[in-house]
Symmetry: C2
Subunit: 226 residues, 2 copies
């Protein structure tokens, strides 16, 4: 019952998803960026709730956009908060999800080159596949979870949340510094190394070892009127 409540929190109440960029050193390197450090503030972008996707529906790949997978731990906010001190952060977390921050790499590359917002690259419908809600009490140590992602049975990403540059408590702290967080809001905590393309017909599985897994099919979206 509490699990169902957690799922409803995300499906019905959530109003925003804030996602951190470059929060694992090995991923920053593979993208050709400077190595991020804990002394720099993290940066966030937003994904709209209309990109939330549950199992049973396909990941839609906009044609020509070079969509890629980024497996991430998602935090679900329990109640309204602002300027949360690090040592209070976990009292504002209701639970967790495993998520895929689908990213249209070509659109993101073009936006970066022009200094434009990342919105289009991050926000298409179905660009946030997510697992069932995991209650906070189900997780012994959220900073020691192994995330993994496979495409067509092949392991593409595997990384441990201990390797985050900014840890979970710090992300809640920074995300709430200028913006109020609300019940059901999601914070994506960044992806470990191994991001790669998604193609029409691909079967994507992702999970957190010993906790949860999920599976999605990918389909090209030509963008013609629906």
């Amino acid at each position: 019952a509490r699990r169902a409540l957690g799922d409803a929190l995300v499906s019905k109440i959530s109003k925003k998803c804030l996602a951190v960029g470059r929060n694992y050193v090995e991923h920053a390197k593979e993208m050709g960026h400077e190595v991020p450090s804990v002394s720099q503030e993290p940066f966030f972008f937003m994904k709209p709730t209309t990109c939330y996707l549950r199992e049973g529906r396909p990941i839609l790949l906009p044609i020509g956009s070079e969509p890629e997978h980024e497996v991430e731990l998602g935090l679900v906010i329990a109640r309204r908060c602002k300027r949360v001190p690090r040592d209070a952060a976990f009292s504002f977390i209701a639970g967790y999800l495993v998520c895929i921050d689908v990213t249209a790499r070509r659109w993101q590359r073009e936006a970066k080159a022009k200094g434009l917002p990342w919105t289009l690259a991050k926000s298409a419908d179905s660009f946030l596949p997510m697992s069932r809600f995991i209650r906070r009490e189900e997780v012994h140590d959220p900073q020691r979870l192994w995330l993994w992602l496979k495409v067509n049975g092949q392991l593409r990403q595997r990384g441990c949340t201990v390797d985050m540059v900014h840890d979970i408590a710090s992300l809640v702290h920074y995300a709430s510094r200028w913006m109020t967080l609300e019940e059901g809001d999601i914070i994506l905590t960044g992806t470990p190394a191994g991001v790669g393309p998604l193609l029409h017909g691909d079967i994507v599985e992702a999970g957190i070892e010993e906790l949860v897994s999920m599976k999605f099919v990918c389909e090209t979206d030509t963008g013609s009127p629906i």
Copy 2:
């Protein structure tokens, strides 16, 4: 009564605000950008609902962020839609608002220079002051509205919606191309020329001639815990 329903649509139901960048030629010029043209697709960024602000509460100015005003016409979406053809766009608009797209110019400049998302620069609490809801039927021609903004009684911005690069119907069309729009979502349509700084103690008034006006006080926000 229908006006109150429209206000509730925005305050309680809205889940996202999509805002177009550089949609008036004179504003693009004052920012030092290429002159935008109707042959290029518009780009959008997001503002979270937690930055929506109604009269009676202050605009909070994060210290050191160089906040500026951008008066804009806001569209309120009437119902769920995707890939809206231009000639059907107005049937998905419930009404209008006058809005100020408050922008932390320093944070935006830093983000642009690094190719990073604009989220922080656009999303602090109180960064979207808005008027009462204006029903679609109250507006004779939404493409001939005069927007204005004053700071401490001095006119800073005045421009006509006829000068949009991408008109209202095109913005609904493009915004809904890859993202589903939902009831209560807001589309900001860009700002005319004359953007400028907001300082502690400033009184900001903005409106649409012959339709609506609103007034806000500005206060520095030091970012200390609340």
